[in-house]
Symmetry: C2
Subunit: 545 residues, 2 copies
Amino acid sequence: MVNSQTTVGNYLTRRLEQAGVKHIFGVPGDYVLGFFEDLQKSPLQVIGNCNELNAGYAADAYARINGVGAVCVTYGVGGLSLVNAAMGAYAERVPVIIISGSPRTGEYPERHGLHHTTGDLTVQRDIFAKATVKSAILLDPKQAPAQIDETIAACLRSKRPVYIELPVDMVNAPCPEPGPFSPDLALPCDPAAREKAVSETLALLANAKQALILVGVEGYRLGFCKELEEFITHSGLPFAASISGKSVIPEKHPQFLGVYYGILGHEAARTAIEAADLALCLGTLETDDVNVGGPVAQRMDPKKTVVAASDCVRVNDRVFEKVSLADFVTALRSRMPRKEPDLAKIPHPSLSREKYSAVAGQKITLARFARRMDGFITSANLIVADTGNAILFSADLYLPKDIEYIAQSFYASIGFSVPAALGVKLAAPARRPVVFVGDGAFQLTGQELSTIIRQKLNPIIFLLNSDGYSVERAMHDGPFNDIQMWKYSKLPEVFGGGWGAEVKTEDALEQALSLATARPDSLAFIELHIDRRDFAAGLKKLVGK
Amino acid sequence: MVNSQTTVGNYLTRRLEQAGVKHIFGVPGDYVLGFFEDLQKSPLQVIGNCNELNAGYAADAYARINGVGAVCVTYGVGGLSLVNAAMGAYAERVPVIIISGSPRTGEYPERHGLHHTTGDLTVQRDIFAKATVKSAILLDPKQAPAQIDETIAACLRSKRPVYIELPVDMVNAPCPEPGPFSPDLALPCDPAAREKAVSETLALLANAKQALILVGVEGYRLGFCKELEEFITHSGLPFAASISGKSVIPEKHPQFLGVYYGILGHEAARTAIEAADLALCLGTLETDDVNVGGPVAQRMDPKKTVVAASDCVRVNDRVFEKVSLADFVTALRSRMPRKEPDLAKIPHPSLSREKYSAVAGQKITLARFARRMDGFITSANLIVADTGNAILFSADLYLPKDIEYIAQSFYASIGFSVPAALGVKLAAPARRPVVFVGDGAFQLTGQELSTIIRQKLNPIIFLLNSDGYSVERAMHDGPFNDIQMWKYSKLPEVFGGGWGAEVKTEDALEQALSLATARPDSLAFIELHIDRRDFAAGLKKLVGK
């Protein structure tokens, strides 16, 4: 019996499509041109980026919304330029499929004198093995289909990046046509462990006087937001969000305390977390720590925490493996009585908001700009915040229901947001991204604005121009925190589309916002001049400390 | 007896200075701010870059001219963003000292929940171990001085990159004052092996009817150019230069055949190399292959080659370890009689040059632009060529004596040249860099123009705008080779200095060249519009193949 045949390149392309990839980011190069041609002929849309790091960030952000993302680059000079994007996706549990072209199979494992290499062809894969849950080099067309299937399944199952290396001569090598793709994505499950974790948690809850919930991002990545919200409502407990878990549960929820981010976040949330005798951490990113503010957060006492992650639960200092977040929360809920919240004791952050109205001639400040955004942002938007002053600023926004919020809040690469805006818009075409980025961060990756323009996308990008690295200034100032002042608002003209505005006062901001609203299909690039030491509320507390 | 004390941070700073580093490139971040302060207070000049990859490229180019370079970044997000620059320096044998700040010593080796990390603090060092000859994590102030000394010595000795990881709490840890720095930089030497290699080479030369010399870049890196030139003159043999060895020996030398770069280089050089019955390869980059044109060069028959590298010599298929290039060439010369060259048989490339005079209204072509450059470039310049059409174009330039030529010709990262222009100008302040870069390459790293402007440097940058990736178009065309058209010439205005011009015709080029000459202290950014398929001479041959 002869199976119908295809090529390894087309097999991979088809599997990407079946996995849910609709757009693939990347930069071509000689070791990967043949596969780019396969991609171009497929239903996938190829998005060319300015450089590989930007492509990696775009694929990461795309995956956060779409459920899976992909990036394709050439060997060595290409692959090794996106290591940081891969590591960020690995640290933040984002499912990205990284594909690198590579030299001919006959050159493996060592071939000196080959351009874009050091001669040792195992190096790149060894590096990516540190930033992915599974990696494969496709050296044999007989094994390639199984390797592709297993690698992509590992990505979807673990929600973490994987790496596939595709030698040039493998692209057109014959292999069987792919059938339907239905990998087993179930996480390992131990019902006895789950019951024990649930019982112990219930016992702790029964004894706790000041229990609360801390929501992380994993519930979002697992498509479990609605159930989480129902659990919170059912429990009657107050809850805070970690910064990466911001808006996983609508901030309008009456039990919402605010964003917990150590001293960088909302004061009410911090006070409540520190006073709690039990914190139920649902989908926060680390199983043996609670990722909520890096060096400036109190490390939570393990005796006062239960942490449910995607694949295990820790109750105090005991870890129960093979218990998923979803199973744990579902089982916990079924054994908890419904309780009404004591709303008098839960100070909702919306209550403390000052009302904003623009004052002509008044200089922009971050604090007042945050209040202006409260009304401007709607659930038709999608928020992207860069690392630094921008993410701390965004922690202070009070976001409407059903909005999505994207930031690399834990691994924290500056420069993530502009490529991310490209990724999220392609993943969620009906939404208009609103991006907050500092000038320092922008200079790392700002050329990706050009790809946003090339793809005719319509984000509103607020460049918070404080003339340097704000977080670094707050922590340890010196001339090394200064950067070159650009005429940022002219960049849309240089890159060939959208429009830019330079804004210094509140009335000028109103004009720019009106223009952004009046041109819903166009990139709006709005540069806000703020003082060099105008820090977001959280950062001000850090400086005061 | 009490030694006078300093701190580990100041010890490292002092050693950098003693090793010959005068400028250090980098981007600050929270794990490295304390050390940036030490750097700032030292005699070293801190050059802030737009991002870490650019900083790495700048340090690499700086090291090519200065003899050693250094780059300093923060942990994770910083370090992992420059992996490709490190690997390029490693592949091309460039001595760069890479310094990364890192978390507190108490966090090692594993600390989950720490920002900018995946929790495993061995990962970054393990990755850099693959791109460096020596790496160290400074975890103990008692051992730190010796670790620093050994690591920097390894860099200077091997002319390859090294990696130093500096935890935040180590910066101010006390350690002894550094004394004088006089590491043993001698390469291992085996006189018996050298004599054997020389004797066998002399025997081969005696039997060869068509022997020639191929010059690589290592003689330049080792400070051995003058002696190499004298050897060539003494031998009377014709010689070609590999692309990375371009201008190591003045191109005016009467025995010069041209640049050998497979079919991408000069035809006379290729014909001669392929017809030779003995090629004496001096300082070409690989010991077991001859790096001269990647996939498009004939692999040289080992039976017809002698390859002398920095630390070993291969005669046919026998390798003699512990024989340095310098020792080998010196010994060989002492045993060879002086011979007059047979100039009638050596067609000097300058003879075939067409004379250029600008034609008003005539569109710019690469071929004619190369001829225009023959007269424009003087030995007060320094050439930087980016990978792609630009480097192939530069192979076709006929360069004056005593000029320096910098390109990442073997590892071949596109985007190297703009950060490199920053690096070489700081390393050689008396020279004015002339940079050739394609539009595709420029989009990867072009924001570093801003640092060139910030530092008030005066390169002349020719942007060869072919509206896309030219080499890829030549090899395998598709829409993935298209990029967004920028208004490049407006970028100096955006970045705040220098001037830009958009040039389409030969008379407009003359005006721009005059302006560049009239403003010797200013950045000149000249965008040349060329046809989408206007390929450099070498690339045309590739397409025709």
